[in-house]
């Protein structure tokens, strides 16, 4: 499995594995941030399928995130209680999940959280992906916010009231922190999800599918004129993103404990944009770019929160502008400029300059 990894990747991966495995023990105080970090790596990496590889800058992936979150939570609740009563404004009753109910709900919810958004992507994909360039960006932006507004007026999922996610159950005889307690559990889930996404994409980008995504970015017309049914590829790519974003949403919903339409689920103005910026900061269209980007971006955010209290958003805005102006190619992009060799391209000037020699006798 690791056979075809080179040194750089191995070190990178080793570092992440270390973080993932050691966090619950060494920095248990930072589990939430770390979980968020890994999830953000997932968001960015999946956004990268469209924005980076395929050249379709979407603001709409947040829709899948939100839908996944709601689907997962609703399923978790619905396996035990009628959803309507749970979310009913005011909620006169008190519900507590038994462990059986809870651990039935989790896998079921997460599974559906992946599938439902994937189906949605399949449906809206064929409609929206006919848009190109910034029209696609604007269209998906509209979609994202519209779905938030829609969720706000949907009673069954609590509407503007939002809904709470079931608690980590209390098992008689076990300490409250069995399986390391809810936090560890979901931290581990997000870490595993990240690994899944990472290896999936790593494989995907090597296949013909991955190459063709790049081809679509570079010159969609050419790709079509070479007999590639680009629409199929675009939609399929979006379905992949949707699937993983949905699961990520489901997990995040559980970590957060409370779901609310416009700020938590369909938070286009925060999560929706951050995943884009992370990818750009790290480097569009590369496997590691989004991961590096997410890592650095999160660090900056934490830093601002802690030391610019009250001004952190100003700082963040400034950071965004800085990234866009000075790092449009991202870190990986800069490395690629500096050391093309790392990316399997010729650097030796001679070959670069060599004239084409055509000998008419062969």
């Amino acid at each position: 499995m690791f056979a075809d990894f080179d040194k750089k990747e191995l070190t990178g991966l080793a570092f992440l594995l270390f973080l993932g495995i050691s966090t619950p023990y060494l920095f248990s105080g930072y589990r939430i941030q770390m979980a968020e970090l890994f999830l953000f790596m997932v968001y960015a990496s999946t956004w990268n399928i469209q924005g980076g590889k395929m050249g379709y800058n979407t603001f709409g992936n947040i829709v899948f995130f939100g839908v996944g979150m709601y689907v997962c939570a609703s399923t978790q609740i619905a396996v035990a209680f009628p959803l309507g009563e749970w979310t009913a404004a005011g909620g006169y009753k008190t519900f507590v999940h038994t462990p059986q109910q809870y651990f039935l709900g989790i896998p079921l919810g997460i599974l559906l959280a992946g599938i439902v958004p994937a189906i949605i992507a399949l449906i809206i994909g064929s409609a929206l992906l006919v848009l190109r360039g910034h029209y696609f960006a604007i269209g998906t932006l509209g979609l994202g916010i519209a779905s938030g507004e829609f969720a706000t007026s949907l009673e069954i999922i609590g509407g503007g009231q939002g809904m709470t996610v079931p608690f980590w159950p209390k098992v008689a005889g076990l300490p409250h922190t069995f399986l390391g307690g809810g936090v560890n559990f979901f931290f581990t889930l997000s870490f595993l999800l990240f690994l899944a996404v990472f290896f999936f994409l790593r494989w995907l980008y090597k296949t013909r599918f991955g190459l063709i995504l790049t081809a679509i970015r570079d010159n969609e017309d050419k790709a079509e004129s070479m007999g590639i049914p680009t629409m199929h590829y675009k939609v399929t790519g979006w379905v992949f993103s949707a699937f993983f974003m949905g699961i990520a949403g489901g997990i995040f919903g559980n970590i957060n404990g409370y779901i609310e339409p416009t700020e938590v689920a369909f938070a286009g103005a925060t999560v929706g944009v951050f995943m884009v910026l992370m990818t750009i900061l790290g480097g569009k269209g590369t496997l590691w770019g989004p991961i590096i980007g997410a890592f650095i971006f999160q660090l900056f955010k934490e830093f601002f929160w802690t030391y610019f209290l009250g001004w952190q958003l100003v700082a963040l805005g400034a950071l965004i502008i800085g990234i866009i102006i000075f790092f449009p190619e991202g870190i990986m992009g800069m490395l690629r400029q500096k050391y093309p060799a790392l990316f399997g391209e010729v650097v030796d000037e001679e070959a670069r300059l060599a004239q084409v020699t055509i000998n008419t006798d062969d």
Partner: protein, 247 residues
């Protein structure tokens, strides 16, 4: 001789302008056919109609006795009818090698979509690249190639896709004269060795004359004349058309 491409009464208008009017032509399997005509005579429009880049107003286009005018670009090219562009279109961000790999014809099997590109494709790509003389450049980013080299790459990409027929839009335009002979020989080899029917727009008379076995001449969106190169060369109408275009 079986006809591979039959175009009958094709018309295409942009707004009011009639770019093509009642074009009819037919191309024999395995032949090399030229299409000449002054600028703006509607040659490229005709090509676009043939490969389905835009729908035609009337008429029919048959490729191996299959109607094309209802199909989309990618469907048509999967039928084995490929074109190159006057302004080269290549995947600039990728290396030449990748350009080639992607251009390998899809088998249409879903599983193949998700398989890594096999070794033999790589070898085939290398052969073809060296055939067009781009072998040393295989690991360069295609965007960094010179215009002429990009044209060659485009040709190579077409070849690895193994088309039945290839439509070339001004293959020698903007290429330095020393290369032109080379390209002509390549095209002839393509025709013989790979047994690909060629349909070529060309302004360079010398090239087209010793390349094509049959030439159509267009002017003002209509077919003006057709025939063997030497017939065309001395055809009054053709000369007038060109001079007419001149002033």
């Amino acid at each position: 001789m079986t006809k591979i491409l039959e175009v009958t009464d094709v018309s295409k208008a942009y707004g009011g302008v009639k770019a093509n009017e009642d074009i009819s032509l037919s191309i024999d399997q395995g032949s090399i056919v030229g299409l000449i005509g002054p600028n703006g005579s509607g040659k490229t429009t005709l090509f676009n109609s043939i490969v389905g880049a835009h729908p035609i107003d009337k008429g029919s286009i048959k490729f191996n006795n299959e109607e094309l005018s209802t199909l989309t670009v990618d469907q048509i090219s999967r039928r084995g009818l490929l074109r190159t562009f006057q302004q080269t279109k290549i995947y600039g961000q990728m290396t030449c090698m990748m350009n080639m790999k992607i251009s390998k014809k899809l088998t249409g099997k879903f599983s193949d979509m998700f398989q890594t590109i096999p070794k033999e494709v790589e070898e085939e790509a290398e052969q073809i690249l060296s055939f067009v003389g781009l072998y040393q450049k295989r690991n360069l980013r295609a965007g960094e190639l010179s215009f002429g080299q990009q044209k060659l790459l485009e040709l190579a990409m077409a070849l690895i896709n193994a088309p039945k027929m290839l439509i070339l839009d001004e293959p020698t335009a903007g290429i330095n004269p020393t290369l032109i002979n080379g390209i002509v020989d390549r095209l002839i080899k393509v025709n013989k060795k790979y047994n690909i029917t060629l349909f070529v727009i060309e302004h360079n008379m010398r090239v087209i004359m010793n390349l094509a076995q049959k030439i159509y001449c267009m002017a003002y969106g209509r077919i003006l004349a057709e025939g063997k190169p030497e017939e065309i060369k001395n055809d009054k109408k053709v000369i007038d058309a060109y001079l007419g275009a001149a002033h």
